[in-house]
């Protein structure tokens, strides 16, 4: 009986497994194989030999190292920053009862707005053109500063725009998750704490934070993964020639290796993709370990 049920269960799972197999497992395996094949050619489907040559090439490629550096800066700055700001905004929202729903909609707008459209708005905000210096620069000069070219200018300015943009784009999702996490904390805990005269900061650190900790960890992990995968946002702001702009990301590098101007190198692309995979896997594992260890604080 049990066995029969088991077989039935597998049968129900079959369609999903077929799709997963065809669109996820097979490509993964394929990429894995490509990454060890030297000089693979799409057209002739041929290669010279196997080995670690692709990895060596990618790791020595200055463009790749630049992409890794950019990606890491992006991840390290935007994940904590966006989670922190989202938490602050959510706490604020949670304490305003009346306008909560309106604000939630406002904060959620960027989420449903197309990435490229938002990218264009950012261009207007930051880009210097023949007609305008961009809104931000107008503000800077109005306060007596000197204009900065955020799109084609110094590295820090471009990095700033990219981080600003990333934080802004992930904010709505994080606020949505955190406001609902905060709202789901039973009011009785706060009442109990109030009757016991608990100061607000202690309520926050001893009750609120532990209660929503699982959601924060979820946001940090997905935030890391999302930031490591950054690509389309960068293209939206800095255009497609990211290597020239010095603003490439790892995913951008992979993409360029496949389809870009310097493209047609699936082996290098696969090696870079697997390096990214290894990085993300490591960081996710570290995160999970950290979260299970801090369960008892």
């Amino acid at each position: 009986m049990l066995e029969k049920n088991n077989r039935k269960a597998w049968l129900y799972l079959l369609p999903a497994m077929l799709f997963l197999g065809a669109f996820m497992v097979y490509p993964l395996v394929d990429v894995f194989i490509y990454s060890f094949e030297e000089g693979y050619n799409f057209a002739s489907q041929s290669y010279f030999g196997t080995g670690l040559y692709n990895y060596g090439y990618v790791l020595r490629d200055p463009y790749f190292m630049q992409a890794v550096k950019n990606t890491f800066i992006l991840v390290i700055i935007t994940v904590p920053l966006s989670t922190g700001i989202a938490l602050l905004i959510s706490l604020g929202l949670n304490s305003i009862k009346r306008l909560k729903e309106l604000y939630q909609t406002v904060f959620f707008l960027p989420y449903v707005t197309n990435t490229l459209a938002v990218g264009l708005v950012f261009m207007i905000l930051f880009k210097k053109t023949a007609y305008s210096d961009g809104l931000i620069n107008l503000l800077i000069t109005a306060f007596g500063g000197s204009a900065v070219d955020f799109i084609d200018g110094p590295y820090w300015a471009k990095m700033f725009v990219m981080c600003f943009y990333t934080v802004w784009v992930v904010m709505p999702f994080k606020i949505l998750i955190l406001t609902s996490a905060l709202a789901s904390v039973n009011q009785d805990y706060y009442n109990a704490a109030r009757v016991d005269g608990t100061p607000p900061l202690r309520i926050f650190t001893k009750i609120t934070l532990p209660m929503i900790a699982p959601m924060i960890f979820y946001l940090v992990i997905t935030g890391f993964i999302g930031a490591f995968k950054a690509y389309s946002d960068v293209v939206a702001i800095f255009g497609t020639d990211l290597n020239a702009a010095g603003m490439n990301t790892i995913v951008g590098y992979v993409y360029d290796m496949l389809y870009g101007n310097s493209g047609g190198y699936p082996s290098f692309a696969s090696a870079a993709a697997l390096i990214l995979f290894a990085i993300v896997l490591t960081i996710t594992c570290v995160n999970l370990l950290a979260s299970s260890n801090s369960d008892n604080f």
Binding site: N186, D188, Y189, N191, A192, A193, R194, V195, D196, G197, T198, P199, R202, K206, I207, P210, M211, D295, N296, F297
Partner: protein, 384 residues
């Protein structure tokens, strides 16, 4: 600590557009709770029990009226300065903290001169845990404990700061029947050991009757009756109270007073001399029936259940508000199970008459009035 509620009223602005009037959750509550007593606040769900508790704890501010703890007016005092311990229906134990941390939590908030050292806190926490007999479980998390154990932790957490008043909001409603019985005795014991004035909210009349010194019966925000549990049971002031107290519930018949006699249907069951004619409800406690071949009340017999000491007679009567009339008699009295009908006479002091329109009690005989006056005097004597 004596607690005085002085014309306490709480209105909530309506949030429902179809029903624009305010909700009056507590309506003109006046009550002086004697020091060191266990008070049961009893009423159906939504009658304002929790709101009353929240007003006393300070979590809600009253719309009007005053609250006194002893000689202190605490009406405008925030909850942390009132010295109340509150036990929530769902316990509200912090799930990420151990039992020890939960119990110590209130102590860690002490400021200034009241501040305790760590060993002192540990000691106080252990004392509180011993009182509720969970001192062996100090390092468990709430999730690793049974409902009854969690309940004890919640009581320990409320007691550890030595509150002036202990408030329990439906503390037993999440426990299974056996545990409920055990825990309510436990609450009684703890209350008597500590001597803290305690208010115990419940919608279960049996719970309230069994352990409290005094009960307050509420309905729709209005206090119906205050008194010793037995007195309220024996002498309800209106139909609501009569129906709310007692298991099995009181049997309610539609009846009338006519020509100085009390009628159920066409049966003249009791004398009601000097009473004007009117429509009434007649409430008869299950133990108020005496099987009597010549008795005035005739009911169709449905069944007989013998339960050791007692016998339940299940009967039916067209005048009865419910389908069945339940009478409980001593099992020494034999009842013919196969008889089509059964006749009863009624014990006058187990039979209560209520005005059909207002539901207010009508005292139909002088004897009964004297009895109820005696009971009232006794209650006041003990209060003083």
């Amino acid at each position: 600590m004596k607690v005085v509620l002085d014309h306490l009223t709480k209105r909530f602005p309506s949030r429902n557009k179809k029903q624009p009037e305010d909700v009056i959750a507590v309506n003109d509550f006046c009550f002086e709770i004697p020091d060191g007593k266990l008070i049961g606040l009893l009423g159906p769900s939504g009658c304002g029990k929790s709101t009353t508790l929240n007003l006393i704890s300070g979590l809600e501010a009253p719309t009007s009226g005053k609250i006194w703890f002893g000689d202190d007016d605490v009406t405008d005092l925030p909850p942390e300065n009132r010295g109340v311990g509150l036990v929530f229906q769902n316990y509200a134990l912090y799930p990420h903290m151990t039992v020890r941390q939960n119990i110590m939590f209130p102590l860690e908030n002490f400021k200034g001169a009241a501040k305790l050292s760590k060993p002192e806190m540990e000691k106080r926490a252990l004392e509180a845990a011993k009182l509720v007999q969970i001192d062996g479980l100090m390092d468990r998390k709430p999730g690793e404990m049974s409902g009854g154990q969690q309940q004890r932790v919640a009581i320990a957490r409320a007691l550890v700061k030595m509150p002036r008043v202990l408030l329990l909001d439906e503390p037993l409603s999440n426990l299974d029947a056996r545990l409920r019985l055990q825990t309510r005795e436990e609450i009684r014991r703890i209350q008597q050991e500590t001597g803290i004035t305690t208010i115990f909210v419940t919608h279960d009349q049996e719970e309230a009757m069994s352990i409290t010194d005094m009960i307050v019966v509420m309905e729709a925000g209005v206090v119906q009756q205050i008194g010793h549990p037995q007195d309220v049971y024996d002498d309800p002031v209106n139909l609501f109270v009569a129906k709310f107290l007692g298991t099995p519930a009181i049997n309610v018949f539609t009846g009338k007073i006519e020509g100085g006699k009390l009628f159920i249907g066409d049966d003249a069951v009791l004398p009601a001399e000097g009473q004007p004619d009117r429509e009434v409800f007649v409430g008869v406690r299950p133990e108020g029936f005496i099987p009597d071949e010549n008795g005035p009340l005739c009911c169709a017999l449905r069944g007989v259940e013998v339960m050791g000491r007692d016998t339940s007679i299940i009967a039916s009567d067209p005048s009865c508000q419910s389908d069945t009339v339940r009478a409980i008699i001593s099992s020494e009295i034999r009842i013919d199970r196969n008889a089509p009908e059964v006749r009863f006479s009624l014990k006058p002091y187990k039979t209560h008459v209520f005005d059909a329109a207002s539901g207010e009690r009508i005292y139909i005989s002088e004897d009964e009035i004297r009895r109820s006056l005696d009971a009232q005097a006794a209650a006041e004597g003990e209060e003083a």
